[in-house]
Symmetry: C2
Subunit: 344 residues, 2 copies
């Protein structure tokens, strides 16, 4: 199959062996697959990511830095076939999304960060048949590819145990922060304050359901909110993933505040436990979606409760992946660029 | 009045001006007052404690390092009089304990860490009349002085939101860790695993209600528990307060584990957010007791549900405070040494 792959921290494109589905595995032809910042992390600090994952239990533990793997975990594709003894949970020809997890004995691989389970930047994938979620006919591929990143935001939102009495702050309005905002809006949380340096991202935050969007260089996102009876935010979502965020949030948070750490930061954070104790803070670490989050994301996109249209960038072919990964962030980058391996 | 005080990081003893109760304040004659590790912290790193408290909002913010203050926040004493306009909530002559907080306008002082509100290492104290809790006649002074440190442990236990389905681990079996164990036992949590380097502390942990007490140099406190169907601890209380504890707990905790940070650590901790995210951990920071915790601690000691007899060390006079503070920790130190300012 044709695929874009990463080896030695560099993106390549070429022919790889077609994957063969084993027991419990579906063979799936990729339609489109989103580019995620996690893929970019791998180019700049791949050795560190693998070492940390091995030491601390992360998704990159099984990777060999020098061997090619096919990234892409925000995919939609079409079931072609199944491995031996399958219960063939979704009919061949139907489209599916899934949590990017492949169970292997008592362990699991992460689809897109595995030498055995190529991700959506290749023509063919292997997926765990028990995790397949069928995509309704009416939902276009590009929207289906946003189910996974939206589900991550919904998981983060959920793990903060939000309720209508909370005033939320979402720091960072990439796909994950926008998903958190959308999830909080579904629950009826208000006010929702969003903070991002980039005006385009603040506009997206408002479109997703934020009541107020602040440039943190110009306003204090923790300040009392005149439009909401002077309330202050008490439930803070970190969706940036830069070093130093944790201690800054701890210093700014109110007494009894709750913090959800969603951004993937691969460096050690410095934290004064004493500062967090003085305010009786709670920190919930959020990691990734579960099947319930995928279900909700798919239903909410399909029935229009969450409109992800503004997140959609263009489609690119495999030959454009290297440039796109290198330029993933930045003020004008779309929330999601989609890779279509059929474009070559 | 006679008092032991701290100035410039050194303990002194001498005559200080008698405090005069203001509006809302009770004048109280100290009976006895426990020595706490927080007092010792002040001798070794007082400048740092004050600077950190000013920056991060801690209890030492109002102190001037060079000016004397009278420590002691684990006190029992007898009401002598009240300031003007008082509702005289507890009759003079009756004994009281309280949370060591004195409200001052919209702010508050911490009794024992304030130049205005001397603590229990002096003959006289000023306490907030609204926080006084009357001590029943049958409860001896030495037991009443343990209400405050026990209440801190009960607060820590409570903030972990424990329930009967949890398997708890308490790291460090000083007064706070022992109080956590006693609080978990009250709720019916089991198993409770305790960990401490010192055999005497492990014995106290068992006496307080731990089912298993482990020397962490000899056994892994996170290992499956054969006596409890191979269960693993999922609710971990940090009651040590040494740098490095947080990251070590994060690395050892199970998926979905909950951590309560109780130990006062005045140095920055290093934390891999990534490691905590991979396990979806929750960290609750615990700080100090509230009136409800004082109430429960007093009732549980008075009615015998929590037996703090094994915590009791001897009584010392003011002249012995300097040595006692310097030798507060260590394998053979009692859980609590009590200062009786009447002994001189």
């Amino acid at each position: 199959m044709k695929a874009a792959f990463i080896a030695n921290g560099q993106v390549g494109v070429g022919e790889l062996a077609d994957p063969t589905p084993g027991r419990g595995q579906a063979l799936v032809r990729t339609h489109v697959c989103g580019l995620c910042a996690s893929d970019q992390h791998f180019l700049s600090g791949g050795h560190n990511l693998i070492a940390l994952s091995r030491k601390l239990g992360g998704p990159y533990a099984a990777l060999d830095f020098a061997r090619p793997f096919v990234p892409g975990h925000e995919y939609v594709g079409e079931v072609l076939d199944y491995g031996p003894g399958s219960r063939r949970s979704v009919r061949p020809g139907r489209r599916v999304v899934s949590v990017p997890i492949m169970r292997q004995g008592g362990s699991h691989a992460v689809v897109g960060y595995s030498h055995q389970c190529p991700g959506g930047f290749g023509e063919l994938m292997l997926l765990d048949e028990d995790f397949l979620i069928e995509v309704p006919d009416a939902l276009p591929d590009d929207y289906a590819a946003l189910v996974e990143p939206l589900a991550v935001g919904l998981e983060h939102a959920r793990r903060g145990r939000p309720d209508k009495g909370d005033a939320a702050l979402v720091l960072g309005c990439g796909a994950i922060g926008l998903g958190v905002i959308a999830g909080l809006k579904l629950i009826g949380v208000g006010p929702i304050v969003a903070a991002d340096f980039h005006p385009a991202r603040r506009d997206l935050a408002i479109a997703a359901g934020a009541h107020i969007a602040i440039d943190p260089r110009e306003g204090d996102p923790y300040a009392p909110l005149p439009a909401f009876d002077g309330r202050r935010v008490n439930l803070i979502y970190e969706c940036v993933g830069q070093p130093g965020m944790l201690q800054r949030i701890v210093e700014a948070a109110p007494f009894d505040g709750r913090i959800v750490m969603g951004g993937y930061c691969m460096e050690a954070e410095s934290l004064y436990v004493f500062a967090a104790q003085n305010k009786r803070l709670n920190i919930q670490f959020a990691g990734g979606e579960e099947p319930q989050d995928m279900d909700l994301a798919l239903r909410a996109i399909a029935d229009g409760r969450i409109d992800v249209t503004p997140w959609l960038g263009g489609r690119i072919g495999l030959g454009e992946v290297a440039d796109a990964v290198a330029n993933l962030s930045g003020p004008t980058a779309p929330v999601r660029t989609l890779v279509d391996p059929r474009l070559g």
